[in-house]
């Protein structure tokens, strides 16, 4: 089909999930092309020769890589239910927080769950600070995007269920209610959205999957 939309993804990736959630929010039909990252398809290598990674969005035969770039493309191509605000200042703000999450939060949160001992304590402490900063962006708002899910909500979606599962496995609690009331409320509100419930990977499947990963040295 000429206008076909394909998402090259893996079911457990929070990055390809961003793309799928955005498309679902806009009611865009798409085909999922599941990848085996240990045996990448020739299509994936063709469509993302630079990084050889998922997600890749293929729209009418044209490939786009990098989840944030894809989100912007989706918002610009399908105008219903905008993901980014209209106001340029608010857009800049949304991009700021999305970049903050990707550059300052993701890795440290991941490491807090996979390291042990003294290093883990350091990571937990640093992660805590980053989350504290992130929480300020929720002041006076239900979602980062305001009344409805937006760009930053989509980008931070790895907090649930991925981070929940990882914290459980590592037996740590980063998002305590008393310390992060807004973020905890966000997790509940976000999780209760139909579009999120319908698109997210099953928690049990993630638990089983992460259990097979050995903690990195």
């Amino acid at each position: 089909m000429a206008d076909e939309v394909v998402v090259f993804r893996v079911w457990d990736s929070p990055f390809s999930y961003r793309v799928e959630l955005a498309l679902a929010l806009k009611g865009v039909n798409f085909r999922r092309a599941e990848e085996d990252l240990k045996n990448k398809s020739s299509e994936l290598l063709l469509y993302n020769p630079v990084h050889k990674k998922i997600p890749v969005l293929l729209h009418a035969g044209k490939p786009i890589a990098e989840s944030l770039v894809i989100l912007e493309y989706i918002d610009e191509t399908w105008k219903q239910n905008p993901i980014l605000p209209v106001d340029p200042y608010e857009r800049a703000n949304a991009r700021f927080w999305a970049t903050y999450v990707d550059d300052k939060c993701l890795e440290i949160l991941w490491r807090a769950c996979w390291t042990r001992g003294e290093e883990q304590q350091k990571c937990i402490s640093e992660a805590g600070e980053r989350l504290r900063t992130l929480e300020t962006a929720l002041e006076g708002k239900k979602f980062f995007g305001g009344d409805t899910i937006g760009f930053v909500d989509i980008v931070v979606s790895f907090l649930t269920p991925w981070m929940e599962v990882l914290q459980e496995m590592a037996r740590i609690r980063l998002l305590e209610e008393e310390n992060y009331p807004r973020l905890c409320r966000w997790v509940r509100d976000f999780s209760s959205c139909d579009v999120v419930k319908e698109t997210r990977p099953p928690r049990e499947k993630l638990v089983a999957f992460f259990a097979t990963l050995k903690p990195p040295n």
């Binding site: 786009i64 890589a65 944030l68 770039v69």
Partner: protein
């Protein structure tokens, strides 16, 4: 369909420029109010909403002006072209610039060669990207300086310093003719001249910085 509240368009029926947003709004079935702007004299609302250009059309969404910038945009108009531009900007910022910086960390000939290989692989990609994005024009942005030009261009001074300090010719005109020519062109642009640091000055700064860093961290 999303809910759009309070959309007003300042325009007029003869204006071909007003027609574009009107057609777009109609296609999207967005209700809007057309406020006829005769332009002579220019209304208070127009002067307040578009003080920079004082032109129509002006789209007012919830009272806030979203005015059409008639200067060449930094990002292309087409969503796919925009995605490509953003992709390369991200590649430059997140990957290639780091690889250029890393050659300074190389201690052995082996490490240096490995670092150089990575850098050149990247330059080759960018040389090709220049063709794809630029579509025959002088810039990654085509006929006008664009998003990728600005992203890559802002590293030029540091690239020149790295070339000087490492002895490695990164933007080699023999290997990468398009990029080498582009780099000279970029540095000669009016908008860039006053902002681009001089290589020697920056090299001095880099040396001082490196000495400070060496003094701060223990030798490996």
């Amino acid at each position: 369909m999303g809910k759009y509240e309070d959309v007003k368009l300042l325009g007029d029926w003869p204006s071909p420029f007003s027609m574009k947003p009107r057609i777009a709004l109609n296609l999207k079935k967005v209700d809007y109010e057309l406020i006829v702007e005769k332009m002579n004299p220019k209304s208070e609302l127009l002067l307040k909403s578009n003080p920079v250009h004082k032109k129509i059309p002006v789209l007012l969404h919830r009272g806030k002006p979203v005015y059409m910038d008639f200067r060449p945009p930094i990002l292309p108009a087409d969503p796919y072209d925009r995605a490509i531009a953003r992709f390369w900007a991200a590649y430059i910022d997140d990957k290639w610039a780091m690889q250029v910086r890393d050659i300074n960390k190389a201690n052995t000939d082996e490490e240096r060669a490995a670092a150089a290989e990575l850098i050149f692989a990247g330059v080759q990609l960018l040389e090709e990207a220049f063709q794809t994005c630029g579509k025959g024009g002088n810039w990654f942005g085509g006929d006008n300086v664009g998003y990728v030009d600005i992203t890559l261009g802002s590293y030029l001074a540091w690239i020149r310093v790295t070339e000087k300090m490492s002895g490695l010719k990164i933007l080699d005109g023999d290997k990468f003719p398009q990029l080498a020519a582009w780099a000279d062109r970029f540095c000669a642009e009016e908008a860039v001249k006053g902002v681009m640091p001089e290589t020697d000055k920056l090299a001095e700064f880099a040396k001082t910085l490196m000495m400070k860093l060496k003094a701060a961290s223990p030798a490996k």
